[in-house]
Symmetry: C2
């Protein structure tokens, strides 16, 4: 039991959640290391959702509402941290959810798929039964995607994505949206929209604004989308980091 | 196999080392998360040993050479990352090595002790057979220490220490020296000397300067030690971090 008075209470709760998920076998071997990196960046960000992050989230929700086939790509870490909110977001945005594991094993895919099904989300893509194709014929496991999901998507939201895969996705012409606490990562730089925030804050925030934006007319959404400049926004995101005593 | 051309090659090698150590059972459940935090801070530091870090290391080596009973406190992470260099440093400084685990289990202590013994370091302290006492009568597992080691030490080097334990140690009047990549951590702030560097670079660097400093006269070492101001040096360490694009 972590005392509520501990200066790192919220962060320690997430840490416990991740350790638990690791024991349950839904995470890759180095997933906890990735979580630790995120923790450090979030710490330097003050563990708050910044204005540039919110702006990126408005652009994200607008883009996904305007999309023909929006897909949320999930892995072990995202699922462990935010499965309920991911399902809620997919519902409100009418988006698909696809499992994409950097270190794919049938067993992990099966376990993660089961978690979505248990919560009533039956149509989970990227499972072992799903038809997977290689993006742009790149015969690399990093490039595999569900035929009805990411392979044919126009907008893909990829929380916590690896740099190699983000690079491959960025070459497809699809709109790639990343959630990444490191604004200097390859994933952050290669994406069309980069949300520099913790997924546990970002996904619920997007659920809320999606409820609002889906009532707006199309022109308004197009304007939000077109007004967004990822390079500028990443620069502003960087400025939010504090490495001062 | 990680290709040498990968932009994060060195860092990925360490990551593999840690995943391996985790599988071997020498790490605590959340040790990989801690490693990930370190990775992120090192990344922002440019993965280099800065001048303030070097200055802190000179003060460390001088303090340990002047000490009556200097002890190096080790845990699973430090051992996994730098065991050979730790033994070398203890030899050149004529220091003791003591196992101190934040989440202590007899099994992990046994495994770690075995690693030191296999490398010819027989007198490893803090083992299951060792006499442990509570520092300042604080009856908390965080406060346990070997009677001939940390309990009676005047200078203690604690790489990768937890904030709770650093706080307890800082109340003992001993000189506490931390190696911590986060210059804002409680451990960094509570210590008398804080080396903001990666242990895999810091320990070998100290082995080198120890060979030099042990040939110098005592007055020279006293001056190095007295010239050092941790607050100023931490401030300078912070300034070394880059969160710019």
């Amino acid at each position: 039991m972590i005392p509520k008075s501990h200066p790192r209470y919220e962060s320690l709760l997430l840490r416990e959640k991740m350790v638990e998920a690791s024991k349950e076998g839904i995470l890759a071997d180095s997933a906890l290391i990735a979580h630790g990196r995120g923790e450090a960046f979030d710490y330097l960000l003050g563990e708050r959702t910044t204005f540039p992050a919110k702006r990126a989230m408005y652009a994200t929700v607008a883009s996904m509402l305007l999309a023909n086939n929006p897909v949320i790509s999930v892995n072990g870490n995202t699922t462990a941290l935010a499965i309920d909110d991911i399902i809620k977001l997919a519902e409100v945005l009418d988006a698909k959810i696809e499992i994409n594991l950097f270190y794919r094993t049938d067993e992990r895919v099966e376990k993660i798929a089961e978690m979505y099904k248990e919560r009533g989300w039956e149509n989970i893509l990227g499972t072992n039964d799903d038809e997977l194709k290689y993006i742009k014929n790149i015969e690399n496991p990093r490039a595999s995607a569900s035929k009805t999901g990411i392979y044919n998507a126009d907008v893909v939201l990829v929380p916590l994505e690896d740099g190699d895969r983000a690079e491959i996705l960025s070459k497809t012409g699809k709109t790639i949206i990343a959630i990444d606490l490191n604004p200097l990562s390859r994933t952050a730089i290669k994406s069309d929209i980069t949300i520099v925030d913790n997924v546990v804050r970002a996904i619920p925030f997007m659920c809320k604004i999606a409820e609002d934006l889906k009532e707006q007319d199309k022109e308004f959404l197009v304007n939000i989308k077109n007004d967004f400049d990822n390079k500028d926004n990443l620069k502003e995101s960087l400025e939010q980091f504090k490495v001062k005593g």
